[in-house]
Symmetry: D2
């Protein structure tokens, strides 16, 4: 028995890659797409057609549920659309797997209440990259022993924000393990503003932006006479697929809300 | 109540650094040194004196035990001396903490039997660097998700052996987690012998030897579209001190044999 | 006056990217494509059409030359086709710019004779990446001062050959500057074959192959108490475009053969 | 004929290492030490003695010059002492080699005038590490082709200043080659102050401070689809010795002032 998946955001680049990954997994099946347009048409290799070739597209979740027995809704849309999709999926007894970092704390809280009421598992993962999540987990664990931490995140220069969401998330995870203390020389003299980076709870984050770069982060943990460096390089969105598949397989057996892929891996 | 420690190998560089570390820890105390010479003299800041200044030196463990109530024997001698020291310590009810990678499997097995008979805890740590041990543990854990692994270890060119013991130990720890498989292109063509490194169970180890280098290792774990790199740089033998102190504090509460610092940290 | 360029290999991925780069440069113009088929059709955004939309395709260089005044032939085909193309171009007074590492030494020698006879400049660049060429040049220069060198090249595991052509080329460039000597411990003991990598004139090359990786190389130069590392990461074939454009602009003023982009940059 | 060297600052760690390096070079000889105390005593292996064992110590340059024919004064004292030493050396016809970054622009200008008047060569090197100087030179050269640059310098957390003098010097050398322009996204949004580092002429400098680190710097140069990284690790003050010896050998043939080791290497 395969896991039946509907995809919201199927025409986007992430959706297209996800459908490819699902189609090459024997235990998972992409059977419908939820969209805000193209109702009744079909999606094949990222292209729309009206010849019945590919996955059927629906603009109404109710109608999609009527026509198909769906186990999981994979939502790779944007924060605006995702909340309503999750609400409706839970109401229909479908397990949502959500890949967006844009949900507000209040929205996550509301989803948490719904999950408890409906007894339907749900996974929200701001970052589907298992490699990135391992880097964050390991950094947090290591900070108990090597408590002086700096983060260098490096992205292409078309990225608008600094520091990156992943860097801030990493610092927040470390904060739960690292003994609180001030880092660096107590009388530090900074001659050019910003040299020592952004401060998060005593830890420093440095954001590099250069053409050519993709998405990279390193966490440096220093101790007397030694340095531990945890680095993740993300070269391609294919790196998100193992995390998406893991979530789809995991969510169907759950009745609770999981926020963050780190709770699925150990 | 402080933990009373005797040190074997106290005059060496590691012993000298260990005594400094012990003396700056309020809960641990260095009270005697076991040596093959200088019986009756004293050791102070790495120097021998006959003025009663510093730690008393003994060439006989029996005599040392008679004069002092010792909790832990820290042994940083060489493989030749260490086995007998451990045997005697256990017989006297003293907890051994051993930092050498040179014990044979048979010797470790014999110690294991003694530990069980005497009900006295013992810790043997081939590598006292917590940072290095974290790197190895994390590499093993990550290899379940990112199963293609190569190790690059880099040392000064006065190092005789290749690959390093730590690199081989790392591969052996990974082997217990990583799904077994052949790495690389199945039709790989190696035009200059050795280019692809040493093979350990399908994983590759590359040994770099250059003047200037100290002791460095990185483990590279690749997945579709991503790379996770775990790197440890050892700059100074001070990096071993937290592992030594952790072991001293831990061993006094044990009645079993622990082989490897990785079992003390999580 | 723009430089008029014909492209051989225009339908390939490198050709398509090159045409984009040429079209976004005001001083260079793509006016024809040389192919082994599709004579008379046109090429537009990588697609073939018969509506006269895009660059006209020719299967005969003679006919192409009859219809267009061409300054430069950019050849991004394979070693089999390139030699004849270069010969014909030189005979027609057209400056070849060739991007292939597959020409034999004898073929290069023959081209050299033709270039001298015809007094038409020609550039052959096994690697069009300016960044990679800078890394090689710098490594060669630095090796006069830091003469112990190891090269780590890292590629995706679909790469068949090891070591990479760039790594071998780097070692050959270094060899011309580096004082000849044996590296490493004279009594080195290699316990697992291959650990110390491939040997080129005393230097060591290590080839890493992992899924996820793209194309990366680092050259490590060690001296007493210090290490200099030169690293190049190639993330996208767009990185070749500045080298291609530099070559096109440079070749029209030459009457000699240039082998290697390193002779165009200083 | 060996080059006769007097050392100012001979008792310090740099001076002690320099004397070792000089003594192991057959063409250079350490024959006297200039100090502010211990006149008439001798210096041997970093220790003072009154048994005439080692290098004679003088507190007066005039007296030292009377007793010895000196070619070069190697000054590894501090900025306070160095200026007067250089003045006196030039007046005595002795070539100064100065290793301090603390001389003011005005002091350097005054030395320049003296050098011209006396026709005695002088070398001032803020950084004697050939590896570091190569990194800076290469970064400057490469920035003509890869003009987007960020610098990450990493030091132990006992370092007071940020950014490091070497990082600022690197940016200043790059500035002379790099086409001036603003880097990064024009609408960059920095959510935590300092994330994007210190700005020097559009380039960014990031200063990492962690226990365990020694002295490290990397220069990252980005272009479309590629990254060039130049990294220097300084592990030990022995790394300064080749630069000191090069300067001593070079200065005796000069009649001008050289500021910066980069002018001695190519």
């Amino acid at each position: 028995m395969t896991i039946k998946v509907a995809i919201a955001g199927a025409r986007g680049r992430m959706g297209t890659t996800a459908i490819e990954a699902i189609e090459s997994s024997p235990d998972v099946e992409a059977i419908a797409a939820l969209d805000y347009k193209y109702n009744g048409l079909h999606l094949h290799n990222g292209n729309i057609n009206d010849e019945g070739n590919g996955i059927p597209i629906y603009t109404s979740m109710a109608q999609m549920m009527e026509n198909h027995a769906i186990d999981v809704l994979l939502d790779v849309t944007d924060p605006d659309a995702v909340f309503k999709n999750v609400e409706e999926a839970l109401a229909h007894g479908v397990h949502p797997v959500v890949g967006t970092s844009g949900l507000s704390r209040r929205q996550v809280d509301e989803i948490s209440v719904l999950v408890e009421t409906e007894h339907i598992g749900c996974i929200i993962a701001p970052n589907f990259s298992i490699g990135a999540v391992l880097m964050m987990k390991f950094a947090a664990q290591a900070s108990r022993y090597l408590g002086d931490v700096e983060i260098i995140e490096m992205h292409h220069d078309r990225k608008l924000d600094a520091p990156s969401g992943t860097a801030v998330k990493t610092a927040e995870m470390i904060r739960q393990y690292r003994p609180a203390h001030i880092q660096g020389h107590p009388d530090e003299q900074v001659h050019i503003e910003g040299a020592r980076g952004a401060d998060v709870d005593g830890m420093k984050i440095h954001s590099v932006r250069l053409p050519g770069l993709l998405a990279h982060q390193q966490v440096l943990l220093g101790g007397e006479g030694e340095l531990l460096t945890l680095r993740h390089d993300s070269f391609d969105r294919k790196s998100f697929m193992p995390g998406i598949l893991l979530s789809i397989r995991n969510v169907v057996g759950r009745k609770d809300l999981v926020y963050g892929l780190e709770h699925l891996i150990d």
